[in-house]
Structures are given as C-alpha cells and as structure tokens.
C-alpha cells in the first residue's frame, strides 16, 4: 500500500503526469517477459538523475521498495514489483548525451533503446556491439542491469565488456560516477560490479559505452542439417579448430516450422536443424574463414551450406533467428524460455537430454540458441489454459536447469536470475559464495530498498511467489527475446 503523502510527494517531484497509481494504468506494469506477475503501488517516470535520487529518498523514507524497469522485456522477472512498491520506469531518460567519435565512445541515458544507439552512430561507420534479440525494444539501462548478451557476443563480448563507466544513484540518493569513462582508472572496478547486478545495488542514470567500427566485410552462412546431433558436433568442431566466428547460432526443426511460414527467411522446412554462422573482419579473413567453416560444416554432415553476402540476404536470415520467439505463437499460445549455459563440448548430449525431458513431460521443446558459447534457449511450448500446465512447465524447466548445472554450466547466460531462478542459485553457489555476494548489498546499503528479493534465494521478508501465482505470458507478434 502507498500513502497519500507518498503519492503527493512523488507528484510534486515529478509532475502529476509522471506518477501512475490508478489500477487501470498500473496493470500495464505488472508483467515483464516472464510468466510471473507483480503489482506495484505506483509507477513513476523520472527524467533526470536528480529526480531518480528524489524518488529513492522518498521510497527510503516511506519504506517502499523500488523496482527499476526499462522496456519490460526482461526474461527473469527482474522488473516485477513482487514486493509491491514503486516501479521506476527509465524510458523517458533516453537521450544520447555525448558522442565522442575520436575516442569511439558514447554517453547515453538508460532508457535509450539498444538498437537506436547503433542507428544513431551508423552514419559514422560505428555500432554498439551487444545485440540482444530484443534490441528493437530493450533499453541499454536494462542491458546494464542484466549484463545482456546477444548473438554477436561470441566474438565481441557481452555488455560488461562494452560499458566504460556509469553514473549511479545509490540507495541513499547520492549520485556518484564510477569507472574511467574511457580511461584507465585506479580503484575498485565498480562499473564491473554494478553491470549485471539486476538493479539490486544502484540505479544507473548515465552509461558510457564503447562503440565499434563496422567491419569491412560480413558473411553469413546457413548450414542445413538432417540431425540436431550433427549440428551440435559441428559447433564443437568449429570452436575446437580455432575459429571464433562473430556469431554461431542454432535453430531446430520446431523453430524452423514456426518461423519459416511467417517470415520466409529461407530455412528449409524439412531440416532438423540449421546453423547460422557469421564471420566478419577484413576481406582477406572473411573469404578464407567462410570457406573453411563451410568445409567443416560439410565434413560434419551438413547437407547444404549457403552463403549470404549481401546485406539484404543476411538480414533475412537474421530476421528468422531474432523473430523465432514471436513465431512460436503459431504453434502454441504460450512458451517458457530458459537460458542455461553448458560447456560447448557437451552441447550434443545436453540438447538430446533436453528433448527427452520435454517428451517425458509431454511438451514440445523448441531450441534456438547461442550455440557458439554454449548458451541454450530451450523454449517449452504450452497452453496456460490447460489446468496444471504452468506448474508442469516450471517443473520441466527446473529439470533442464539442473541438467545444465550438473554439466558444469550456469543457470543463466544472459537473462539474469531475477525472480525466476533465484531458488536455483544454491545449485551452483555455496552458502559462503552467496554470503560473499550478499555482502556487496551491505556495502551498497541497497537492501531492502532496491529490487529486493531478486537474484538471490528468497529470505524472511520476501513475499511468496509460489507456483500458484504464476501466470503465462500472452504472446505478441513482435515479442522478441
């Protein structure tokens, strides 16, 4: 619950239009990209760091949690107000504040949509490398919170490798700058600590990022396989032979069947799996690498390899990859996406076992994932209207996560732990590990104010989000992952 006084103070600080408390409006902020829900007491839209600081102070005074939120595309429940409180929506802070072409860095506000940055700097031959599939919608602030990846992170690294500095609002409202903003700087790497902390330590209000020079040449290969196993072993072979492509993605039969009739991207409907492999760099390198990888694909059983050389051809293939999730709607009303990571050499065995788990539970599983770095995205397709289906999906999901961690992998490659996977953390981290992580919250004095009960196992004081309260997500046509 929220008091009249709190609302008045928020309105005074932000203007009436930037504070939402009407249930009819709040409902638009009770969800993110997961299948949980959380009901906020208020939703606010700050436009400056000072306003964010003001909101933090009001929330701290009145004992309300703050849940920072970007575009709400998150896939681990990180932006859900499960403990009530104030959802702090950053989407009105979306300016590019500085563009330093000489040093190839940009300073942006957190609400800027990921793809908008690359579009804005394209005329200078530059781009921002991390490219989550939701990049048309997700914000860079959200990417910072989750340490987001994307297909091209195989070669170029994830968000943390591209963020050079942050302006932060701390839990006491203080505004600080951390990191070198393009320079080497002594002291603790606070930027590295905050990136990926899922909004639990501080709120970023300015973000300094590195921009990359567009490559001279880009080539995308589509390798078509009659078995998933052959595709998986090709992935391992490419890595083992010493190639690190810019991207190496796998799309299985179920996904192809969903995506091809809708997007017509050129994936053969009778294939069991396709690999999307992109190499970029100098002309001399791309020519040689593309032909060597093509040979390798054939050697490991690809029935056909096609090379896309023009931008239009490439974009068509990538539309198929990035639009796969939206296309699941043609098969089932709902899907549940996982994000486990396994060592790349174990892909073949793990993918097999994931299909087997799906079969055991009676679900169709669609795999579309970042094969090059072992980051799996199994999608369990289901219908939430079937009684008990959601619970069963979560159970199957849990089994897949246990499979990944038992293989020496991770619970999450890029989506974050959030609400969804917090209870699985003890699978990979000991009590001492978790205590050492909790100490970071103590140092930032951010608990219980900033995104409480996320990313780590629930403790006393966290509300119950049992299986009973799970609801499945509705599918929208342009719903990306």
């Amino acid at each position: 619950m929220i008091s009249r006084r709190t609302v008045n103070d928020l309105q005074k600080l932000l203007g009436k239009a930037n504070v939402i408390t009407d249930p009819g409006d709040l409902i638009a902020f009770e969800y993110d990209g997961t299948i949980d829900r959380g009901w906020p007491s208020a939703v606010v839209f700050p436009t400056t760091a000072e306003q964010v600081s003001g909101v933090v102070k009001i929330a701290a005074r009145d004992g309300l949690p703050i849940v920072p939120r970007g575009a709400g595309t998150g896939l681990s429940g990180g932006a859900l107000a499960t403990e009530g409180g104030i959802v702090l929506v950053m989407t009105r802070m979306k300016r590019i504040l500085e563009l330093d072409l000489e040093n190839r860095i940009a300073v942006v506000e957190p609400g800027l949509v990921n793809l908008e940055l690359s579009k804005a700097v394209a005329k200078h031959g530059l781009y921002y490398a991390p490219d989550p599939s939701s990049q048309k919608a997700c914000t860079i602030g959200g990417n910072v919170a989750e340490n987001s990846g994307g297909p091209h992170c195989l070669l170029y690294g994830v968000t943390t490798n591209h963020v050079l500095g942050l302006e932060l609002v701390l839990a006491d409202g203080e505004i600080v700058r951390v990191g070198g903003w393009g320079r080497e700087r002594p002291g603790y790497d606070l930027t590295g600590i905050v990136v990926g902390s899922e909004g639990t330590l501080a709120i970023a209000t300015r973000i300094c990022v590195r921009l990359l020079r567009e490559q001279e040449s880009v080539r995308t290969l589509l390798a078509i396989f009659d078995s998933v196993n052959a595709a998986s072993s090709t992935v391992s072979a490419v890595i083992r032979r010493g190639y690190v492509p810019a991207a190496l993605e796998m799309i299985d039969r179920v996904c192809i069947k969903a995506v091809e009739p809708v997007l017509h991207c050129g994936f053969p409907l009778d294939a069991e799996a396709v690999l999307l492999i992109e190499v970029d760099g100098l002309n001399e390198f791309v020519d040689a690498a593309a032909s060597e990888i093509e040979n390798l694909c054939s050697e490991f059983g690809a029935r056909e390899v096609r090379q896309a050389t023009t931008k239009a051809e490439r974009e068509k293939l990538w539309a198929g990859r990035k639009g796969a999730f939206g296309a699941f709607g043609s098969l089932f009303p709902n899907y549940y996406i996982l994000d486990g990571v396994v060592p790349r050499t174990q892909l073949m065995r793990i993918v097999d076992e994931i299909y087997a788990i799906g079969e055991r539970y009676g679900f169709t599983v669609a795999n579309v994932f970042h094969a090059g770095d072992g980051n799996l995205h199994p999608n369990i397709l289901f219908d939430e209207r079937v009684p008990g289906a959601t619970e069963k999906v979560l159970e199957a999901g849990g089994e897949i996560l246990r499979l990944c961690t038992a293989a020496g992998g991770s619970l999450s490659g890029e989506h974050g732990i959030g609400l969804e996977k917090r209870e699985y953390m003890p699978l990979t981290f000991s009590p001492a590990d978790l205590a050492a992580m909790a100490t970071l919250k103590a140092a930032f004095r951010s608990e219980p104010l900033l995104n409480p009960c996320k990313a780590f196992p629930a403790h006393a004081g966290c509300g119950e989000v049992g299986a009973g309260s799970h609801k499945a997500q509705p599918l929208a046509a342009d719903y990306y992952v």
Binding site: C153, R183, G187, Y188, R240, N283, G374, M425, T428, A432
Partner: protein, 446 residues
Amino acid sequence: MSAAAIANLLSETLPHAQVLSGAGLDGYELAGARPLAAVRPATAAEVADTLRLAGQQGWAVSPVGGGTMLDLGNPPSRLDLLIDLSALNAVVDYQPDDLTLTVQAGITLARLDALLAEHSQVLPLDVPLPERATIGGALACDAAGPLSLRYGTARDLVIGMQAALPRHGLARSGGKVVKNVAGYDLAKLHIGGLGTLGIITEVTFKLWPAAPGHGSLVASFDSLTEAHAVAQQILAGQLFPAALELVGPRAGAALAAGSRAEPEGEQWLLAVRFMGTFAAVQRQTRDVMTLCTQGAAPVVTALEPEQRTRLFDGIRDYGRAAERTAALILRASVLPAQTAQAIAVLDRTGIRLAAAPEILARPGRGTARGYWREPAPAEAVRAVGSARAELAKLGGNLVVERAPAGLLPAIDAWGPDGSDLGLMRRLKQAYDPDGVLNPGRFVHGI
C-alpha cells in the same frame, strides 16, 4: 605478538604450510619493510585459514605472488605476515576443446603459456616478467601488456574466480562457462583490487585460439605529433592490430641497445603487431606501411620474428627487467585520442625533475608511462603533484607504479580521484572490517 609466537600459531593451525621466520625471511620484504613471519600455504583452504587467524589475532597480512609488482601501491601501514602463494601453482582443469582453463593463483604466466602452446591456444595476458609473474599477482595488480589493445585486460578474460575472504572464507563467483550472469561478478572486485578485499586463490579463464599468422613493423617519425596522428588513424580504421605502441626516443634507444636497428636522434617509433590469418596479417602490414609512409615516416621496417619477439617482450618488461630497472615509473591515463597530451605532461614532468624520462605509450588505451632511472626525490613530490593537476584538466589521472624508497606515501601512489571514494571505503569496510588485508596500500588509504 612476537615473531616466534606468530610462527608457532601458524604452524599449529596450518599443518601443510611452510612457515618462515627469522633468517628464513630473507627475500620476503615489501616496500622495504620486513614482516614478522611469512607463510606459504599448501592449499586454498589454508589461505582462508590464515586470513581467519589473522583476523582473530589482529595481524596485517600482505599476499605475494612472484614479487614482480610489489612496488605498486603505497607502503603498507602495517605488516605482520606475508602470504606467499607460490605453492598454489596447479593447473586445476584445462579443457582445450572448450577453450577454458582453471588454474591456481600461484602459477606463473610462462608456465601457462607453455601449457597452452601445446594446444595452439593462448591466454593473451602479456604482463611483465612472465617467468616470475603469477596469475594471482597479475590480476590483483590488473597488469596488462601490449596485447591488451586487441584482447582487453584481465576483466575481459576471467570467467570465474575463487578468493579467500577475511569474513567468508573461500568464496566463488562466475563459473567455468564462457557466458554467465548468475550471481554478482565478484571477480571484478579482486582484479585490480591489490589484494585489499581478498586473496585470489583460483581463476578460470576463457582462452583464445593461437593465431596462425604474425607480423609486425616499426616506423620511425621525426616528431611525436606525426607518430601519434598515424597511430590514431590506424586505430580509427577497420584494421585490427594486436598491439600498437608509441616508443619515445630514449626508450627506443634502450630497446634497440645492442641490436642493429638502433635508431638515430630524436625519433619517435610506432611499433605495430598483427595476429590473424596469414592473408589478413599481410594485408594489414601493407596497409599500415602505406599509412606510415603517407604520414611522413622516413623509415618503415617490417620485423623478422626474432626481432618482433625481442621488441615486444622488451616493451612488455620495460623498466622492470633486472638489468634495466627504472627507479620511478609514472603512468598517465587519458582518453585514447589525448595520448600525445599525456606524453607531453610526462615530458614536462621530466623538465621539473631535471631528468628526461624514457617514454612508452599505448595510444589505443590512452596510457603513457614515463621511466626515470635516477629521479631527484625532493623534486618528485612537487613534480607529480603538477602532473596530476595537468592530467586532471584532461579528466585523466596519474599512478605512481614505482618510486624510490621514501617517496611513497609522501606522494600517494594513486592520487585523489572521483566521487565514488565513499563507496570504495564501504566495500573495504564490508569485506575486511578488521583491516587485515594490505592495509594502507590502495586508493584513498584503503
């Protein structure tokens, strides 16, 4: 507590560790100070036990790896015990097909390089003195070399870490897979943290395939302005050199001493290294040669493999190798395009010290180092202060990486900097409330 009592307590608590005191401490010094005892734990658990004991007894502890960068930071405000990590030198898990490697912190870079070479893989962390430098020490100091231009620094290569913490014992973060966002990335605290929050005991890296082709060239320019302009031109383009270093006239002479390629006069050298497929290396060498020639370089030389190794190893170890040790090393950091200005600040510092520095710079990362063999200590305090003021105007900073005895902490090794001082102190307070680890050596007196 007496040295003997400390040694006894350690021996009782740590059955497998080697405990040293008295004459056994020869060689175990830190910033001229001798500890009361030293301990060489046999396991990570013993490192954690040592820290627990130190907390209980109120000892101040400093970790030591290969001892190659012990000059970094201010002298410890207290020092009772050195922890020598050199016995923790095992390869824990190497998965060549996954391009991942887990090692204990005390392993040397050279041993790692040799192991990885058998599988045509590399950990592109070319820190100074790899024969002695250990992984733990290199990470704690955030040491880097010329290859950081292409591959980034330790923070870009580490995917998992175990550290011994004063309050928590052994704690892990990250994992063994190349992509992972589960849990806080605590490794970032310890990389560059100078062992003030914990002691690194085990590290997992992502590796890179060794490049099949290598090439390099050196261009000499009549002025820094010309050399710097060409460097920026290369960095702004689509070529991707593995390393690109600016070498000042005196440093160039020192690097070339004894070789036939000794430069004449006041020339600035641009040393560029390429790694990749043979065709890509050839193409880049050709393009950069053209850029250098167009940029008015009178001489551009492609290097033979042994010349290349000699030059880039020389740059990597500059001022630190036993035969040519610098007494004072200053590192100026600015935005990459301002590197020439950072160099100018170091030159002016040389005028104030009445001794011109040898200068090496990494324009892709905006760092420039000045090396002095015999600086005048009295002048150094003022000169460093002036250099810091000049760099601050550029938004940059200056770190004293090495100084003659007595100069630190009269000069703070790190300098005043930034609005996040409070947050850094809170981190120290949260992880090491008793001030066990390396007290006084890090930024802001941490």
